[in-house]
């Protein structure tokens, strides 16, 4: 089985759930012996990834080919496109300008048709799309150029920015298209969806042979809001990686620390419900005092959230760490007594799994996909801040509850493996291939 996968970042540049999911899934597929050509929209700076081997520098019109040690069956091709996950059209303009400045700095002298080693040929001149949609289309052209030269059985595209690329590659080579919906416009923007993004999502869903949703919650949105038949959508849950997880290290911080720490980790954006976290925090502080609330992450609402904390009079009890990655994420989980995910609409939610694997008890919003697979967690409606506070206080005050959630939760999370998700994807691929071979 050979897969043409349109994905996102790989380490160390993983900036969120989408990248993490692609990474985990691809690694598991490689372990199962599936050959994957992984196309990603980012030039790789190899000085940061020592286990990344540049196999073939870009020839004219081509893109560089990489391999990574732990991904035995995967070849990576990067395409110089400036699309990043969860990007809104507005912020694309900033990215565009930034990239132009970067190119100008890198070497205006090198520009002019030589084709540098780190980026694809045509983009060298900074021929990025003038807006996000143009860039998405450009990416589609670049990706299909790669697809021309490759041999594969199925195309797998992750989230809307890769759908046009997926449709193009699949159509070009007459192969089935599987699109993987990690989130929809309704999750990201509530009811104020961007019509063009919605249209692209819808187009991709209708063009696909099979659709994968990360939860039944997401599947429901797909079938009810995009006009898709229910039997076209399969649910494959995300999971987490247990490799490289170090066993419990010595934890000096906990000794002598009286204060409990309640953690929010994720993008500070409407979808993740940061204001509900703060409202619940305020209620909690009415009852217990030796607790601090940590908000780890950044996003379009970060300034507003900091102001909100101050307005509520709890600013001194809320700490903002900014965006964390790598080791820092592990560290902040180890410090936490409780992890709360008050998402307004979360297609899946990998962070609670990470919290549980760090032995941190978890409270999650019922409006999340991960609530479908976890039982040893506390669940609450995101808007019910009194109940959220009730549960936070209970976990902090009652050690038996804390330990029961921790023990059962960390045991439960070990059952969720990417190998299972990868196997489910393979089933979806086979189904898609059957459908294309013998159209009903």
């Amino acid at each position: 089985m050979k897969v043409f996968m349109l994905g996102w970042e790989f380490p160390p540049f993983i900036s969120g759930g989408l990248g993490t999911a692609c990474y985990g899934l691809t690694k598991a597929m490689s372990r199962l012996g599936t050959d994957v050509l992984f196309v990603l929209p980012r030039p790789v700076r190899s000085e940061f990834s020592t286990h990344v081997k540049l196999v073939a520098p870009s020839q004219s019109g081509g893109s560089p080919l990489y391999r990574i040690d732990e991904f035995e069956h995967v070849r990576f091709r990067s395409v110089d496109a400036i699309i990043i996950p969860y990007q809104a059209p507005v912020s694309y303009a900033q990215q565009y300008r930034r990239r132009q400045r970067q190119l100008a700095r890198i070497g205006a002298t090198e520009a002019g048709g030589q084709g540098g080693q780190a980026s694809g040929g045509p983009a060298q001149q900074g021929h990025y799309g003038s807006d996000l949609f143009a860039e998405v289309e450009r990416y589609a052209r670049l990706a299909s150029a790669i697809a021309q030269q490759e041999d594969f059985d199925v195309v797998h595209a992750h989230d809307w920015m890769t759908y046009p690329a997926g449709m193009a590659a699949a159509a070009l080579r007459a192969k089935p298209l599987v699109i993987h919906v990690h989130s929809t416009e309704f999750d990201r923007s509530g009811e104020h969806v961007n019509q063009r993004i919605y249209d692209l999502e819808r187009q991709g869903m209708h063009a696909a042979t099979r659709i994968i949703a990360v939860s039944h919650l997401t599947r429901k949105i797909i079938t009810s809001r995009y006009g898709i038949a229910e039997d076209k959508v399969d649910v494959v849950y995300n999971a987490i990686d247990f490799d490289g997880r170090k066993l419990e290290e010595h934890l000096p911080a906990a000794i002598g620390r009286d204060e409990k720490i309640v953690l929010f980790l994720g993008r500070i954006t409407m979808q993740k419900g940061p204001e509900y976290f703060l409202a619940a925090a305020k209620r909690v502080l009415e009852v217990i005092d030796n607790v601090r609330f940590l908000m780890a992450g950044s996003g379009d609402m970060i300034r507003r959230t900091i102001e909100l904390a101050a307005e509520m009079g709890i600013g001194h009890k809320v700490l903002f760490t900014g965006f964390l990655r790598g080791e820092d994420v592990d560290r902040v989980f180890r410090m936490a007594d409780l992890y709360v995910m008050p998402s307004v609409s979360e297609p899946f939610g990998i962070a609670p799994l990470e919290a549980l694997s760090h032995d941190v008890p978890v409270i999650i919003s019922k409006q999340s996909g991960v609530a479908e697979v976890l039982t040893h967690v506390l669940k609450v409606d995101f808007w019910d801040i009194n109940e959220m506070a009730n549960k936070i206080i209970a976990v902090l005050r009652h050690p038996p509850l804390h330990s029961a959630l921790r023990e059962h939760g960390s045991f439960e999370v070990r059952k969720r493996s990417w190998a299972d998700s990868a196997n489910c994807c393979l089933d979806v691929y086979r189904r898609a291939m059957d459908l294309v071979a013998s159209p009903a």
């Binding site: 506390l378 009194n386 506070a389 009730n390 209970a394 009652h398 509850l401 959630l405």
Partner: protein, 417 residues
Amino acid sequence: MRLTAGEDTKHKMASVCFYFQVHQPHRLRRYSVFDTERDYFDGFRNRQICRKVVDKCYLPANRLMLDLIRRNDGRFRIAYSLTGVVLEQFEDFAPEMIRSFQELAATGCVEFLAETYYHSLSFLYSRREFAEQVRMHTAKIRELFGQEPVVFRNTELVYNNDVAHFVAQLGFKAIIAEGADHILGYRSPAFVYKPPGCDDLSVLLKNYRLSDDIAFRFSNQSWPEWPLTADKFARWVNQVNGNGYLVNLFMDYETLGEHQWADTGIFEFCRHLPEEILKHPDNNFMTPGEAAAAYAPVGVFDAPHVISWADTERDLSAWLGNAMQSDALHELYRLEPEIEAAGDTDLSDDWRKLQTSDHFYYMCTKWFADGDVHKYFNPYESPYDSYINFMNVLDNIRGRLRMATRGTGRSVLGRAG
């Protein structure tokens, strides 16, 4: 006249001994850490559930039993154990149930057992409280049905040698327990036993195979013996002849109409059972008290460790299997001295209603992920929610206690947070 061991072997009688457990807890309402009112119980829900079970199960079953008793000229005899808390709920929500049980009592063919008024695990924490709840319960039975119970059953058949000894001292003649295989060994529950070192108390053991055939397997279509008809069951009862003389069928009364819905045919099965059993001239029906009086113990039933009739483990793990449960029970019973000192009847009543074993049953995490019988009757979404709810209520009680004992110089309850 009691049959001794020698005579037993000549008699080929099978005495079928039925006892039905009737219980509903006072369920708690949603109580968050911010709540301050003193009404902890969900009156609406409790009424709704009580009426539902009464209409679907208790009332039709009682009518059936009454009919069978009348039709069989006193040869059909059964027993009930009614908890104090269910009687309270009948008085509030379904007074016709009290009248119905009184009618049954008046037939002279129905025996009432004794148990703890609040269906509690108090024996494990306070003998004093346990004895008081037993006293309250027998007083209630005496008041409503004019009977003096001689047979005792502990909550969920929680049993060990200590329970037996204590209950013997309270003056009971017999006690009900689970016929646990690991204690019986090769022996059969079809005989009467006694606890070690105790001659005044008989132990009647549940025949769990035959009881569960009715209570659990009855409607299971993949069971090889499905469908279970009255004549087939009577044949199994007859097989006991010569191999024991008691068939102890102990089960939840909700079996008739709730665990086993009416459309499974459970009521028809029961309707025909007495006549099928009595077709064999050597068979009869006995109440537990009559069985204890009629048959002498043949051996010792030694239970040093606690057993129960719950789940496959037949132990305490359904109520005391995790840290939350043991913490909740411990914190609850820790309040006993202060509750007594406060002397406030409302407070004591609330504290006692919290002792009902169901509250801790809901906190069980044993098979939470698989969804099973624990979950069906669980009003909470998760065992964690039930623990949080319970502890919030307990907190409020503790607060009331602090106010009641303030100014008396008594020790302040020490529990952080």
